[in-house]
Symmetry: C2
Subunit: 358 residues, 2 copies
Amino acid sequence: MDKTYISAGKLKGLMRITDESGRFRMLAIDQRGSLQKMLSNSSKREAGFPDLVIAKRIVTLILSPYFSATLMDPEYGIPESLKYLNKHSGLLVATEKSGTEASGYQDREKKTTLIEGWSVKKIKKLGADAAKLLLYYRPDGTSEIKNYQESIVKFLGEECKKEDIPFVLEPVTYPFKDDEVSQDSLEFVKRKPELVIQTAKEFSKEEYGVDLLKMEFPINLKYVKEFRQGYFDGKEREEIYSIKDAEDASYEITKTSRIPWVILSAGVDIEEFVVNVEIASRCGASGFLAGRAIWKDFTKYYPSENDMIEWLLTSGVSNYYKVFEASKKSTPFFEHKLFKSLANISVSGTSENWYKEY
Amino acid sequence: MDKTYISAGKLKGLMRITDESGRFRMLAIDQRGSLQKMLSNSSKREAGFPDLVIAKRIVTLILSPYFSATLMDPEYGIPESLKYLNKHSGLLVATEKSGTEASGYQDREKKTTLIEGWSVKKIKKLGADAAKLLLYYRPDGTSEIKNYQESIVKFLGEECKKEDIPFVLEPVTYPFKDDEVSQDSLEFVKRKPELVIQTAKEFSKEEYGVDLLKMEFPINLKYVKEFRQGYFDGKEREEIYSIKDAEDASYEITKTSRIPWVILSAGVDIEEFVVNVEIASRCGASGFLAGRAIWKDFTKYYPSENDMIEWLLTSGVSNYYKVFEASKKSTPFFEHKLFKSLANISVSGTSENWYKEY
């Protein structure tokens, strides 16, 4: 069989962020803006630097032992949480600034900014296993904004190649057209599957240098027959989709993407996320990178460190197991069509002179 | 308490190559010359590149799951063994060429050469957790050779600082004086404890940038009362040392070295190594980095891959457990006097601006 070639650092990184079965079962605790809001709400005061540092440290301490890897940010998470990252959990680090710059059509499009003073080189230097970029993206956006966003991905793709570290891209859709008043608007909900699929297709192209896509669930389950009567949030909605639609759209991501993908949690509740993970896993995803769905309610106990720890130790861990179970059918990265099997993977340039030419 | 500061990459690397208890329980499979000889002896023909690659791959496959880290070389081990390195085993990579250059006094002193075309930068790039240098050294050698050897250590120390990766130095004594005809000569055996202690003292100085010393056992147990009557190798010897001498010398290394140290196996049999590890661990060592003592007899089965695997699966694994047990009293790195406790360790430059200044 023809070998699939991968560089030494990318292979090492992928092996470090997957579990023994080759599946991505990853924790995201790189939230900044959203976490800051949650902590401020609970403590009835503006949460600042020390608050975020403490919250991230506690999540890392209690939950990282369960996950194959942990995604941190360098503003509040690193370096303080490093001591608490479980030895067996790989490390991904964010590159983007929290929040976006309003621009483009009616100022409703979004531009991404990289964290100033931070770099893939620094991510590699601190010993992390992968770099991550959250990118707001509309394949049907204005070409000005599309070009801008795509060029950031290409830039980071090059940096990750240079540093020989896996590149995890998280492209996220958002409403911006006149008829899309919110994430929940019917027009946006209807367009989303195609937006997600087209986005996966675009960024899995070799020219971007992405190694793993972190994708949204393409179908809003709150509009699916079985759940539309307020199953997740008590609010009734129209029936727009079926489970079959969710399966088809997930499978379409798998088919259209050249590279492996995982499902993200994007702030949905654990019940909904478990269904997302179950369907995505059955339809070709390689695992999950889950944040708020796992831990968000611990913020309600802020600032009591004890109560936060107790919530994470029980409900947080329990949420992990729910998602772990739901991801059992996911595709190990080495079985993805790109690699086919571990036996089929070879380190690029393998020869007696590898060490000279690397 | 005053904090001890350590850079993010060094801390991450140290955490990756220790086990959950903070102890170094490491496997060395970076042997080249010695392994080549063993394989050639067994197969009655000159073992070459493919033979070494296969042997290293098999040892990595079977044994790396047991060890907190695995030491490889980039000539035969990497990249071929990378796929077989257990996800939970950290990775150290050698920098020195196998063998040494005869030089100095009567051409009996030894000079180290780094692998041409290889570098700490490449070690970091491939995603490894530490760089290692084997250095032949006599603190009582000629200043020409001493300066030369010390300058290599300083060079690598600087490189490791630049790449922010732990530096493991393995300084090894050797006979070279007129009255030292071999490793086994009385004069050398008598001088060795002091040579080992002085060497540890020298290279633990901050100016060398070494993070962990891999040291020889200072006392040759074959000359100790309890073992001198051929206990290890059937050969009777004079009584020169007592167990107390071995304890004192080990403790002296601990006292004299500013940084943590582990014990190496240097080709002794497993029975002798277990006693080395037991004494060193009781007297302040932080674990072991063991090679041939663990696996050497598997080479007798070369070229039968099945037989090699079976030997490693049984005797190899059993040897690991013997050494593991013997190292139970070793000092976790974070409890070493340099750090005192994890609570006392802080990442250098920790502040709101860490990511900008790193």
